[in-house]
Symmetry: C2
Subunit: 149 residues, 2 copies
DNA sequence: CATTATAATGAAAATGATTTTCATTTTCAT
DNA sequence: ATGAAAATGAAAATCATTTTCATTATAATG
């Protein structure tokens, strides 16, 4: 279903199809969690050795522009991407101890955000809400080395 | 007043004082709004030509670690810093049209964030909340070129 | 004040993620 | 089948920030 969205997007842009891009898209959409370009390349290369990092970056940009991917830029300086669930939105809890990422939705917060915007005569297109701290496991075990990932 | 905080921090770290650092700190604290290292260097150099960018970066890091500065990393890939108002916290509305940044505080949102964390047995140390969109001016004038800054 | 260990400095090089370039290959409308 | 244009990937470029390193400045001590 999402695949057709991309096909449509490709066509509407006058782009062509290619096996490399197909492989990247396919691999990306099968991914769960948040994936960086480098990580995605590793997965893609398990299927096709000839795909380059540049193409992964280019495809990720295409996916993002077409609305099939959402880019996240948490703590670190690398971007990660996750498949977009249509009509859905969520925010994140990020553990600074182990790197674990949890997702949540909270309509009340979003409503309050709109209220804030209204007070400032501002029109929100999107927002970033990230809660950083310590997960249960890490608060038990005490200070731990952050997961590099 | 904040100055003494830094002095104390410097001493507790076994560091020495220097005129360059003093100048950077002084200039930074007099700044309003969100300032990048590069921008701060320009201001500092109006007073002292011999200060280097490296020292600005180092001082900004020191200020952040001592709690006198808060680092923000909005849309762009450059970090900006703002003087920390003691015991205060605020979040931002960022206009994608003109780059204008507005600040707000909303205790209700923060309370809901804590509630979310509690549900996940998570302990928040800090959070990022950024509302992106269009300000009143920009929504009037229609689509405009984003302020580079 | 002189000594001296070491912190501070800044120019230049390194880093690291992402983007750009460009010569070559592939796609697809005709 | 043909050709214009898109896609590719290796290598170079970008760009903010950090690291390196030779030199200078600071301040505790005698
Ligand atoms: Mn997510
Ligand atoms: Mn602010
Ligand atoms: Zn954890
Ligand atoms: Zn605006």
């Amino acid at each position: 279903m999402e695949r057709s969205l991309l096909k449509h997007f490709i066509k509407s842009r006058g782009l062509r199809q290619s096996s490399q891009r197909d492989r990247v898209v396919e691999t990306f959409l099968s991914q769960k969690g948040h994936t960086s370009a480098e990580e995605l390349l590793i997965q893609v290369r398990k299927k096709d050795k000839r795909v380059g990092l540049t193409t992964v970056y280019r495809t990720l940009k295409l996916l993002t522009e077409s609305g099939l991917a959402v880019e996240r830029k948490f703590n670190r300086q690398v971007s990660t991407f996750e498949p977009a669930r249509i009509g859905q939105h969520h925010d994140h809890l990020i553990c600074l101890g182990c790197g674990k990422i949890m997702e949540f939705e909270n309509k009340n917060i979003e409503t309050l955000q709109e209220e804030v915007a209204r007070k400032h005569t501002f029109f929100i297109t999107h927002h970033v809400l990230e809660l950083y701290g310590t997960c249960l496991d890490c608060s038990k075990k005490g200070a731990k080395k952050p997961k590099k990932k």
